[in-house]
Symmetry: D2
Subunit: 162 residues, 4 copies
């Protein structure tokens, strides 16, 4: 069966507006990345929202939970801003027990050339195919259980809490 | 424990010679890629050879087997040319049973910008951390058992044999 | 004689801060660009300031005029933010008559991969070598006299006023 | 009036064939480059051939001369392989006296990311707009008269003969 990919925004998909010099969201680059990676993993992609994860509300997280719960796929990758990725993972972990859900993102926008997004996407898809049911964060080439992960604000690196 | 990475060359590490227009090998770009991916996976990197996989001999494969067998790490990633990656995987699978060995590579040189190498490296490191002992090829976002994989010469895509 | 290059900042040299998602200035990428372009033009590079051109003051412009006036070179390229590039060009044109001064910049930061900066730098250096004394803006592959140029805020394209 | 751009191939437009690892020609990337550079120079582009300049024959050069002679534009840029760029420049200089013709190219294929092609194209278009009638080579940010230029085979850099 296919892997479900849900898009929620985050640095991953930010663009540079030439006219005002601001970063903003337009469309997701997920399909481009999968093509760049010559991916042949069967996927179903759906954009749920396109926001900075600092602006993600409880209602937004409920929507993500609902979508993960109700899709027919049992392996799910969610692209998500890094700032509150751990929070969303915890919410998902409380509600969904029988699927393998991998949250991933990027520190550098994909459009800015030197992105970690392609690397993270490769690892997230691999973890989705191999980890047992549960909710995980896949960043920095590693995976973390939802209840034991945080982003270190000083270094930008994900790490275990305990 | 760290993941051992063995470099053998392949398209992954090819460079463009400005003076004669030929592709050639100089140094590996593995460390650059890991940095680009913001990888924090603990790795030990060693270059075993730097060759086109069409030129890989039985002696070369014996060396790879020997190195995999004798390193202390039990999770191993090998970068390898795609043309004979399946062959090397089969040789390794016959000899080594107690380690997780992932062969990966690229269709486009890393230096040429639009490489699948970063994507493949992300997935290979993830598979090395999660698959049970055995020898696998990680390409196109998927993993294949050593005894059931080939590169489709027409499409450049890896696929199951049976 | 060498071409003098003065750096003042602008989109050209903006970087992406991974930790807070803001754009900021660190060092100029001018030398990297010249190397990328395999430039063999003899140049003398000096950073005068590193600012967004919307924040450029009269004092800053006096400094630029002073530096252009007092350097020994007669061909000068100035990298500059696009928003007030035309303004600085006009100030320079009033004060300096005997040198060829070319202002150029970029709509996309160089670090973001798909930059027009490399293209503009190539044209600016060429115009500096060939145009008669005067002050010009070099953008979009074209050159404009200081007294007849503006940036179209809607399109981001430079155009003649009359 | 527009600048005429003639495409003849060269490293500029080489692609990497994923299936056999060879470099080859498909389509020109000239339009992509002009878009990347946000060029607003009015141009008319025509592909005359798509070859390695080491394989360029007298007949090919006659065709280039004929096209330059017969097009209505008086400013012409020709993209050309670097190995025999000086030779073609000399042939053109003997036949055409009343137009400004700029030959340019690249040491690294545009598709390989770190190309000097974008830089050279920017300078070539600028030189075409500013130099008096004659035939020139524009490489390394500089321009050379057709009768006083060669590519240094050891360094890959263009230089004066005398």
């Amino acid at each position: 069966m296919a892997i479900r990919i849900f898009i929620t925004g985050g640095t991953f998909d930010k663009e540079y507006n030439e006219l005002n010099g601001q970063l903003y969201f337009k469309d997701t680059h997920l399909s481009d990345l999968l093509e760049l990676g010559r991916s042949r993993v069967q996927v179903e992609i759906r954009t749920l929202m396109m926001i900075d994860s600092l602006e993600m509300t409880d209602v937004d997280r409920d929507l993500i939970v609902h979508q993960c719960d109700n899709c027919e796929e049992t392996q799910i990758v969610i692209t998500h801003g890094t700032d509150t990725m751990s929070d969303t993972a915890k919410v998902l972990a409380k509600k969904i027990k029988d699927k393998t859900i991998i949250l991933t993102g990027a520190m550098i926008p994909i459009k800015f050339g030197s992105s970690d997004g392609l690397f993270n996407l490769g690892s997230a898809l691999a973890f989705a195919q191999t980890l047992s049911p549960g909710v995980y964060v896949a960043m920095n080439g590693r995976y973390f259980h939802a209840d034991n992960v945080r982003k270190n604000k000083q270094t930008g690196v994900f790490e275990e809490v305990k």
